[in-house]
Symmetry: C2
Subunit: 464 residues, 2 copies
């Protein structure tokens, strides 16, 4: 059915602005409409719609929603947005929502808040949930302890398969959300003894003793296992989960493959953010202005200082520049090309460090590889820039000065770019954060230095 | 037991150079030692050791290893390294290795080669494996079709639970590696009818009809479902896998949650690489020089041209620069700050696009948000730079020119940085790739233009 242009536009407007739908539901207190919206929309759509509500509407949303739906919602939207939204609520309301989250998410949620507020929330949560969350939150986020869940099934090493099945049957509802790929055989003191794949339980007779079915001497990891080690484990073994124990082999939790992969994605995303200078944490445009400004200015203020430092080299050679003004055209080019070359080398180093293809102590090998490449590419680019200068001003020496400065600048930039991530990693500093600015300053400064000092040496050839 | 210093050094050398161990094993043809090394070392260590072997040694490695171990190895090392290694082998050797890989990996492996070689390999593979791989390889990598596996279990909708269990029992070995969380109920024509959770099979009696246990009307997705839609699906539902069907609801394969997460990580890593200018594909330092040079020069040659374009603005204003040489010091600073500010805005836009917090058509909202922030931060930074210039030369107008040019440059840079990713996404161009160079050129050019044109206007105040 063809609609007149106006109506079609209005329909499109309403279709493209779902947040209005959400805002209406919130304002009119229509919980059913709220639930409909949340069930029907993709998570990105939901997060977007919420971000366009006013602060009051957002608070109202979390007051209206039943706890379970609120917990699902919290699980689906980005962490940075969660803090913004829940900050306004009371501790007992947040606790009520947290009670419905899986244990690892509870710990993450609580850790998003300042310590005092976090303690208040924990105090208001159900004792069992609170204990789980408190146990998990002490582990750093990127370790087995921080990723593990406490929702797993155990069975004693005595008894028969039939008894295990009966116990499962009784608690079928409670175990709805659990990962029942395996049951973990534990001793009376809670020590991990073996693994009982559900598959085996299916294919066996009731009277078979559990002791015969359990796979003894199972793979397990400790809570301090790093994300890289977990990644490696799941690359070598096709399992979907691994039990996590303490030093006495007491079972603490289970880390699932999918959660490891998710943590890797988050880490890669965070790397890109820090590499782009968003070091003050994740920024969303729905955040207030001062918050966004602060996050960006953290990086910019540092960059200002570094840029002025390298620019001071130009100031030092002002007299040379006065005589060879054409150089001023090529200084930003040298700076730009040095930066691009260096960033490529940084990216390769970071990638190779992540994959384990290089170790932080292998700086000499990396420098050797970058030296050759830097010379090769540097000569190509230097020749191109040099020719451009030569052709432009008809002065061969200008081309020589600019070209050789460019080549040396690229050479230094790729060596710095290649080596800095390794050095920073040894010093336990995040390469994604620091390699950029250090490289930029040193590469710029050296580029300016070479161009201007070479020009000073060849001054009588360059006076046009 | 204390060792003399020399021995300890040698021990450390051997400990820190496992590739020598691998090289020795390859050279002496010692397959047992090879397997020991591969079993004992983390995957990063293996990839690293392999990359340090000579080309002949690498070929020899894949000739020595039994097919199954070779397949495991191929599964563990990065794709770019796989191509390098296998390229030298014959098609039937590659096919023999491929036969042992899971179906989605087979398709990925085959697609790493040029079409002609890929066809040769497929022709040499076992018919069943070859058919699976051929079926899967037509799907783009980042879709449900490209991620799905063909290793899943089905059951007919007739019969009893006991019959299903008996059939499982018979094929227990074959199904060792399968994801047996669910069985998929299919009709006689292969249409997806329902899902039978393994859990239910455990908790039921033998004579229960399958028809009663199957969960009808199950969730499913089609093969063209994008990675973003898959991510959304697994965010909303706690399942570990989802069946993939064609338009007639015929079951094609299963996508597992962990594979979706892994694909997301790869995508995030690739984004960082392209953002850093590694657009010619993944680079490893173990690659030959010409290969590495080509990959980096793809980006650098483009950057040279763009840099020269923006530098030509300076050339145009040479006369002004001649009179106010101090400006030459601040041009790289303006360029650098504009680049940093713009990159932050690009990163925020890309993040918000990924999370679905903004849609590509919402350019006006993004520009509005960036405009305010750009003005705010721009004034701060402009004031800082302007004061530096003022203090340095004692000339207020120099400070004013430099400061206002800086402010405007940042303003333009953040608006460009914020809006370009959205625009590029609408034009189906990869933002990680193009936003950087376009921003850099336009931001530099505008910064130079403002600084030099303002200086031209205020020339009589600036002549020192």
């Amino acid at each position: 059915m063809a609609l007149p242009e106006v109506e079609r536009g209005a329909q499109a407007e309403m279709q493209t602005e779902p947040w209005r739908e959400l805002a209406q539901a919130v304002d009119s207190g229509d919980v059913a409409a709220l639930n409909d919206f949340l069930d029907a929309s993709p998570t990105g759509e939901i997060a977007r719609a919420i971000s366009r509500l006013s602060v009051d509407q957002q608070r109202e949303l979390f007051v209206l929603l039943p706890e379970r739906q609120a917990a699902e919602l919290v699980d689906e939207i980005p962490d940075a947005q969660v803090v913004q939204l829940l900050r306004e609520l009371s501790a007992d309301r947040i606790a009520a929502i947290a009670n419905h989250l899986p244990s690892d998410e509870q710990a993450d949620l609580v850790n998003l808040f300042a310590p005092q507020q976090a303690d208040e929330i924990l105090a208001e949560m159900k004792p069992v949930e609170s204990a789980d969350a408190q146990h998990l939150r002490v582990y750093p986020h990127d370790t087995a302890g921080g990723l593990m869940v406490k929702e797993y099934l155990t069975c004693p090493e005595t008894g028969t398969a039939g008894e295990v099945v009966r116990r499962l049957r009784d608690k079928i509802d409670e175990y709805e959300d659990y990962d029942v790929q395996y049951l973990y055989g534990v001793s009376s003191t809670g020590r991990l003894i073996g693994v009982l794949p559900l598959r085996k339980l299916v294919l066996t007779r009731d009277e078979q003793p559990v002791a015969d079915l359990i796979v003894r001497d199972p793979y397990y990891l400790t809570a301090d296992t790093s994300l890289d080690e977990l990644t490696d484990f799941f690359q070598r073994h096709a399992f979907f989960g691994v039990p996590i124990t303490d030093d006495q082999q007491k079972l603490l939790g289970v880390v699932r493959r999918a959660d490891v992969e998710e943590a890797r994605t988050e880490r890669a995303d965070a790397s890109l953010r820090r590499f782009s200078g968003l070091i003050g944490g994740e920024e969303f445009r729905s955040m207030p202005l001062y918050s966004r400004s602060l996050r960006r200015m953290t990086w910019l203020s540092l960059t200002v200082i570094l840029n002025l430092i390298s620019a001071s080299i130009i100031a030092f050679y002002q007299d040379t520049l006065n005589e060879v003004i054409a150089l001023a055209v090529f200084l930003p080019v040298i700076s730009g090309m040095g930066g691009s070359s260096g960033n490529q080398a940084i990216a390769v180093s970071m990638r190779e460090l992540t994959l384990g293809l290089i170790k932080p102590y292998e700086i000499r090998w990396v420098l050797y590889k970058e030296l050759i490449l830097g010379l090769f590419n540097g000569l190509l680019v230097g020749a191109a820039i040099g020719c451009a200068a030569w052709v432009w001003k008809g002065n061969f020496y200008l081309g020589l000065v600019v070209g050789s400065a460019m080549t040396l600048s690229i050479l230094i930039a790729v060596c710095l770019g290649g080596g800095l991530p390794l050095l920073l990693k040894r010093l336990k500093i995040d390469p994604a954060l620091a390699a950029g600015p250090v490289l930029m300053t040193l590469a710029d400064a050296s580029g300016f230095f070479f161009a201007l000092s070479f020009a000073s040496l060849a001054l009588h050839h360059l006076r046009i």
